[in-house]
Amino acid sequence: MGNPVVELKNVTKVIKGKKIIDNLSFTIEEGEVFGFLGPNGAGKTTTIRMMVGLMKITSGEILICGKNVEKEFEEALMNIGGIVENPELYKFLTGYQNLMQYARMIKGVTKQKIDEVVEFVGLTDRIHDKVKTYSLGMRQRLGLAQCLLHDPKVMILDEPTNGLDPAGIREIRDHLKKLTKEKGMSVIVSSHLLSEMEMMCDRIAIIQNGKLIDIQKVHDYVAESKQNYFFEVDIENLPFLNISYKKVEKAIEIELEKDEVPDMIQLLIEKGIRIFEVKPVTKSLEDRFLEVTTKGEKFHA
């Protein structure tokens, strides 16, 4: 980790005098799953389209593995595999023929590699059927296979879990984990499904009105060693406690380090308090997302 594979430098996009993307800068590192989060119309898809060269950049630059997307298009795009919006494939071809189409466009993709990728996404049984007959989930998988053919360093997925059943979503998540951990691939995912992003991503950028509002690590265990713990207790007969705590509905919250939890439980029991439940309070991504975006909204209003 630590090697930036994608760099956005002061990227701005103006369409008909309107700033769609305003001075966006961030970097994505090797082997991480980077989430792209924002309300509808925030500019997620626009940013992704600029990264893959489907849209011109008004000012600023995007570097992929050190190559400028606009000036060194072929070199930069060698490192990218992607699905922009829905994976639209040739419906009158079979899955395999579709993959062959993309394999022919890039040098050095062998038949063996195609079979390997098909196996990886679990389409081996149906790969020789026409894409017409595929379900949405299978098309997503074929889309994923299509962007893995040339072993890209970065994968860009726009709403990869769209239309998948829970098992399919889980499968995609596992695939992405495998790819990032084993092959050191970086993945950029955009979605509006917060819970999904929370499970899938290492870092999440929140954008709104084309501006970067916040980048957060999803599992910030290291930085936040102290955490709030939720103790559901018999709150009516609460004796005096010699510690700082916060009363919430039918429970108290205490800020503790993980090691201190058993001691605290013991202490509470010694005091004769009946404990029903103990759990760490994690602020869900949704809370953070709403917190951050509504703040932004107020600011704009």
Partner: protein, 206 residues
């Protein structure tokens, strides 16, 4: 580049629409063959007095030529050419071929070339537009290939498709023509009017 053209080629031929077009072309040639075969029965008897007939034709054409107004330059030119060719027949004793042979059938079928052109136009119109319609253009354009190469390969594919349909017309009409009408009596001279002169040509050179 070569692979891109292969891709486009596969894309065209895996669509049912293309198969229908080619089937239509072949059907047209077969239809022509049937019509020619039927018509052929009626023109057997008039071989003897061809000189007289040709003279008559020239006379008629000359009369028509003098009546045609100066403005209809194309009509005039056609008539002049016809007269010149007929005169050449008289001078060199080459009787007009009334009976269909394989060679004349191929020539008749060359009218179907406009169909080939029509189908090529259909393919050309769709080759970029339908990529947008299907949404596949996004997956196509994020390959590490420059845009001009993708578009150029599409253009070359269209040209190749045109050649392919022409080849189909020619080959099918040749097979049918020789099978049904034979190769003629070897006297299959085609007279054409080039650069103000009447020239004898082999049919391959038209």
């Amino acid at each position: 580049m070569h692979n891109l053209i292969v891709n486009e080629w596969i894309n065209i031929f895996k669509r049912p629409g293309t198969i229908v077009m080619i089937a239509l072309l072949i059907l047209c040639v077969i239809g022509m063959a049937i019509l020619t075969k039927l018509y052929n029965h009626h023109v057997h008897s008039e071989k003897i007095q061809w000189q007289q007939q040709v003279r008559q034709e020239i006379k008629q054409d000359q009369k028509q030529l003098s009546e045609t107004p100066q403005t209809a330059a194309n009509v005039k030119k056609d008539l002049e050419q016809k007269i010149a060719v007929n005169q050449y027949r008289l001078d060199h004793n080459i009787p007009p071929v009334k009976e269909s042979t394989g060679w004349t059938f191929i020539e008749d079928c060359s009218h179907l070339i406009s169909f080939a052109g029509l189908f090529t136009i259909i393919i050309a119109a769709g080759i970029v537009a339908s990529e947008f319609g299907w949404g596949t253009v996004k997956l196509l354009l994020i390959r590490p290939i420059k845009r001009y190469k993708i578009l150029l390969s599409k253009y070359i594919t269209v040209v190749l498709f045109d050649l392919f349909t022409l080849a189909i017309i020619f080959v099918v009409s040749a097979i049918l023509g020789f099978a049904l009408f034979g190769t003629g009596d070897g006297n299959n001279v085609h007279l054409s009017y080039t650069n103000g002169k009447v020239v004898e040509q082999n049919i391959f050179l038209i």
